[in-house]
């Protein structure tokens, strides 16, 4: 049975519509206008136990709203959600003991106390005996490379240290389903790597299902074999990460280095020019014409080196969103 099922999930928010200025303020006071914003429109997917799924979309696409519905924080306007066989909005203790939601910049740790004090509460809330709680804290701290940070007031920690401590607090009860909303937001490269490694290790050790949103494609490419793309509240793609390249990037990148300066050469006849940098040229070529084009390049030009690759996933997804905007 899937760990997470979203079945035609929709969410409509009613928001006040106010014009700027004094007149707008007075009108808003006397004749308040509202409009409905469809944040999520009939999104359906499921996630199996142990699966790590990237949940992608530009700002305002509906990712966080979907996560909030799946965790039971907000009630869907239509459709249904099921997590580990429970309806999230019922907020049954049996479900809450098995899930967690980590939000990049939102903390559950008590700001003025060391992390260990917050963990003391979490351990009691989840009915963990002392020795078990101590073992789990030690294990998680070891995986995240935390030591003295646990006894310093949270307000004195760097963003990266705080995020790692948040992860310890969020995972102390060993949840089976993790909803992670921008867990690496604002972290430096080293901290991002540490969090990614930790999540992979946690997933492998505990077989947890993970739904991860991130604006850092490195998070997605490092962790997720499957991605779900959402835009303007609608699901645009659900499948393998590499499939997204095949589906939304019909062009491949051909990079070659010439023996001599290519002054006056017309590369347009081979494909779309992506960039030229001295003797190094990058072209975008349709997949169907790739073999023929490479043959022609090797025959017609004095090529020292040639590589063929997919364009970076960031570029593909960026284009996908741009296309959706149009």
């Amino acid at each position: 049975m899937p760990s997470v099922i979203a079945d035609n999930l929709s969410k409509v928010f009613r928001v006040a519509d106010k014009q700027p200025g004094l007149l707008g303020t007075l009108r808003h006071f006397s004749h308040r206008k509202y409009r409905d914003v469809e944040a999520v429109k009939g999104v359906s997917f499921s996630i199996e136990p142990g699966e790590i799924v990237g949940f992608l979309g530009p700002n305002g696409a509906g990712k966080t709203t979907t996560l909030k519905m799946l965790t039971g924080l907000i009630h869907p306007t239509a459709g249904a959600a099921q997590v580990l066989g429970f309806k999230p909005f019922d907020r049954k203790a049996e479900l809450l003991r098995q899930i967690t939601l980590v939000m990049g910049q939102k903390q559950q740790l008590i700001w003025d106390l060391p992390t260990l004090d917050s963990l003391r509460i979490n351990a009691a809330v989840y009915d963990l005996p002392r020795t078990e709680a101590d073992n789990r804290v030690a294990e998680l701290a070891d995986m995240l490379g935390l030591s003295d940070e646990m006894t310093r007031p949270v307000r004195k920690l760097s963003l990266g240290e705080r995020m790692k401590c948040e992860l310890v607090a969020a995972l102390l009860h060993r949840p089976k389903v993790l909803f992670l909303d921008e867990p690496t937001l604002g972290l430096d490269v080293n901290a991002q790597n540490a969090v990614r490694q930790f999540l992979r290790q946690y997933n492998q050790q505990h077989g947890a299902a993970i739904l991860l949103t991130s604006h850092y494609m490195a998070d997605i490419t490092a962790l997720c074999e499957r991605v779900i793309v959402i835009h303007h509240g609608s699901l645009k793609y659900d499948g393998e990460l590499r499939g997204i390249v095949e589906r939304f990037a019909p062009l491949r990148e051909v990079t070659f280095e010439l023996k001599q300066d290519p002054a006056g050469q017309d590369f347009q006849r081979f494909g779309q020019i992506e960039s030229t940098d001295g003797r190094i040229v990058k072209l975008l070529v349709e997949r169907s014409r790739l073999t023929g084009t490479v043959n022609r390049l090797l025959h017609e030009l004095d090529v020292l080196d040639l590589t063929v690759s997919d364009p970076p996933i960031e570029q593909v997804i960026g284009r996908l969103f741009e296309g959706a905007e149009e």
Binding site: D117, R120, V125, A138, D142
Partner: protein, 309 residues
């Protein structure tokens, strides 16, 4: 192993949790052991948090000195003989009111509003325990942290009005409330805190609809100020207003939040029947406010938009 070697060695005794059993097993959220374990963890942690704010707490304790100001006003009025209470009774009453006030301050509406607006309520909603308990134990932690400041101010009262201890020409004799009365006062004091907590919590839940709900606290604060006995001893009401007003006031929850616990030790004018009636009213209003807050919570949760999170 790098990283921490079980945080136990850090001098904080690690996660010093009272284990109610040694196996994880299925959840038993309301076994006595689990309840005590949770209560202890919350209380110890929130006390530690409030100790971090000790400077503010001293200021809060001083800011709740209104009963001492009113004591100065009413001490003179009591001495005039125009009311049914004399100077010593008034002074003892307001010292008791000051004591009760120190341990019944409730600020949940401001804290709850901040948690809703900042999105910090969301992680707590995803834990298998009602967030109300966090707020409740935060208040208890604050009360514990307030004890030293309150004690200093309490002793100061007797320096300013030593007649509270040994009486004066109008009313001679030491102030000896008796152990039973003190215990009854402490019980009434905590029930009064519980009543105020759930009353304010019911209002706090309005943040699910209106976000900025703390201003609504003023609606309750005004009747609380005048009908709780913080500004004047309620027994003087019949001296200045028709008797039915006094009887009506006694059906509201407010007199039991301040006047009743204070009167248990100050005037000792309450009969056994009146004491029983006072506790019945306190208990009844506690149940009513708890029920109201739980109902408001269930309804309000559907309006929560988890903003800022």
């Amino acid at each position: 192993m790098k990283g921490i070697k079980a945080p136990r060695h850090q001098g904080t005794k690690g996660l010093d949790i009272v284990a109610h059993n040694e196996t994880l097993g299925p959840s038993v959220p309301w076994s006595l052991g689990a309840f005590l374990s949770k209560s202890r963890a919350f209380l110890v942690t929130y006390y530690a948090m409030m100790v971090e704010y000790r400077a503010e707490i001293v200021l809060w304790a001083i800011a709740t000195c209104l009963p001492l100001i009113m004591m100065g006003v009413w001490a003179e009025a009591g001495a005039s003989g125009h009311f049914s209470v004399n100077r010593v009774q008034v002074v003892r009453y307001f010292i008791a009111v000051f004591f009760v006030r120190q341990f019944t301050v409730v600020w949940v509406i401001h804290d709850f509003e901040w948690h809703v607006v900042s999105g910090r309520l969301s992680p707590f909603l995803l834990q298998p325990i009602d967030p109300a308990w966090r707020f409740y134990f935060a208040h208890l932690g604050e009360q514990l942290a307030r004890i030293p400041a309150a004690a200093v101010l309490f002793v100061l009262c007797f320096f300013l009005y030593p007649e509270a201890l040994w009486g004066d020409a109008q009313q001679s004799g030491w102030w000896k409330p008796g152990v039973v009365n003190v215990l009854l006062m402490l019980a009434a004091l905590h029930l009064s805190f519980i009543l105020r907590f759930w009353m304010d919590y019911a209002m706090s839940v309005g943040a699910f609809w209106f976000e900025r709900i703390s201003a609504a606290h003023g609606l309750i604060y005004l009747p609380y100020l005048f009908l709780s006995g913080m500004v004047f001893p309620l027994q003087v009401l019949p001296d200045v207003l028709p008797g039915w007003v006094y009887r009506l006031v006694m059906w509201t929850p407010f007199p039991y939040m301040m006047w009743f616990p204070a009167e248990l030790v100050s005037g000792q004018s309450l009969s056994a029947g009146q004491i029983a009636w006072g506790f019945a009213m306190l208990g009844g209003w506690c149940v009513a406010m708890y029920g109201l807050s739980r109902w408001a919570w269930r309804v309000g949760l559907k309006h929560y938009s988890a903003m800022g999170a």
